[in-house]
């Protein structure tokens, strides 16, 4: 099967920032992304869990974004703007994709 080089960017960010991140990604010309739920976690700011939570203050989501390698820099710049003052983790990895015309 023919595959094409791409980058997989995963951004773990507070739920309340999701809309702002989406908007920034779209502005940066990203053609697609998916948002995965996160149940809980741990970091320098302590332990958290979404269980029983009513407020949107606490939770986080994992935004997965597969892009052509040449787009990754503008994506990271856009993501950084949003994440900057906030907690969260941005990682980038190499991957290959089927159907490259979609990216």
């Amino acid at each position: 099967m023919q595959t094409h080089k791409a980058k997989r960017v995963e951004i773990i960010i507070e739920s309340i920032m999701e809309d702002r991140l989406s908007a920034a990604l779209i502005k940066a010309g990203v053609t697609g992304f998916s948002v995965l739920p996160v149940l809980g976690g741990s970091g320098r700011s302590g332990h958290w869990s979404g269980e029983g939570q009513v407020s949107r203050a606490g939770g986080m989501v994992n935004v997965v974004c597969i892009v052509r390698p040449e787009r990754v820099d503008s994506l990271l710049d856009a993501a950084f703007e949003v994440v900057d003052r906030h907690i969260g983790v941005v990682s980038v990895a190499d991957c290959e994709v089927l159907r490259a015309e979609r990216f």
Binding site: I16, G52, Q53, A57, R85, H86
Partner: protein, 326 residues
């Protein structure tokens, strides 16, 4: 006085409070008891839907008058002013940074809808019938305090106070306000007829749902307290108890000035005394990410909420009864 003590004792053994205690105890004992997030949100939607609708239907019954509008205005003013009081108090009583103090202050200007519901139950048990539009007052008090907190930051020259575009709309249209106000309006429009249709859903099971919700709040509060023991200094703890009392005095003044009924005064005191743990924390995470959430959540949900639930409301009731002669 004796009546108050008896009521407080009675209150302490109501199922609502005991389920909150059960939740806290389970969290401290590290039981794996938990309410799924979707269920907790469902319970909270139910409560907002029910109290909004009931408030509206009651207004439809009793008619709208000038006091309604004045009460809304008073609520908005209180919500703007109380954070300033809270901020001043925090600078004296604690060593919080300006940012943390402003964030906490914002919570105390806003309100806790479950505390409001608990006070409504107490009012009803005491034979009072508060004005139905107090629900609308609760709704308008949610947001202004957030703007006050951001204004404090901006004035202090901290960089983070700048009002991001879209934030104000987000605050004013947050889900709980929209649901509460929407249900209130629909209750008002459909009145008795609407009430007859959905009363079996929003009235009979209400207290039971409230128990489950308080169990959940106890679990969350207990987990928070366990994690955040370190941030809770004696000064902060004292603030979490003193501030609601001060707030309640403001509410009392407003209620008396407006000439509300005894139940209305009680609810105004409770609103002023309560601290937000849903809408304001979310806004603070967006606008003041540098503020430490475990401070404001622990204070609001772990200290002030249980204080109001157990001791505060009976005190407010005693005061409102004495001072309105009700």
């Amino acid at each position: 006085m004796e009546g108050t003590l008896a009521l407080a004792a009675d209150n302490l053994t109501s199922p609502i409070i005991l389920f909150f205690v059960l939740g806290v105890a389970a969290a401290f004992a590290r039981s794996d008891l938990s309410i799924p997030e979707a269920i907790a949100k469902g319970l909270s939607i139910y409560l907002l839907f029910a109290i909004g609708f009931k408030g509206g239907a009651s207004v439809a019954n009793h008619g709208v008058d000038a006091t309604l509008v004045l009460s809304l205005v008073a609520g908005i003013i209180l919500s703007f002013v109380l954070p300033l009081v809270a901020f001043g108090l925090l600078r004296v009583m604690s060593r919080l940074s300006v940012t943390d103090a402003a964030a906490v202050a914002g919570h105390y200007g806003s309100i806790s809808i479950v505390t409001f519901v608990a006070a409504t139950s107490v009012a009803e048990s005491a034979g009072l019938s508060p004005e139905g539009y107090m629900v609308a007052v609760a709704a308008v008090m949610e947001a202004p305090a957030i703007l006050s907190a951001l204004w404090i930051i901006a004035r202090s020259g901290q960089q983070s106070g700048e009002m991001e575009q879209g934030l104000v709309r987000e605050i004013l249209l947050n889900g709980s306000i929209v649901l509460l106000v929407g249900s209130f309006l629909i209750g008002g429009i459909t009145g008795d007829e609407g009430m007859a249709m959905i009363a079996p859903f929003i009235e009979e099971p209400f207290q039971g749902v409230l128990c489950l919700f308080l169990l959940d709040m106890g679990l969350v509060a207990g987990r928070g307290l366990r994690e955040a023991k370190s941030v809770l200094t004696a000064g902060l703890f004292a603030f979490g108890v003193v501030m609601p009392l001060i707030g309640s005095v403001f509410g009392l003044a407003a209620g008396l000035a407006l000439g509300l009924s005894t139940g209305g005064v009680l609810l105004f005191m409770t609103l002023a005394a309560s601290a937000s743990y849903i809408a304001v924390p979310a806004a603070m995470r967006v606008a003041l990410p540098e503020a430490n959430p475990s401070i404001y959540l622990t204070l609001s949900l772990g200290v002030t909420f249980p204080f109001n639930l157990t001791l505060g409301i009976p005190i407010y009731l005693a005061l409102s009864q004495t001072l309105t002669g009700g």
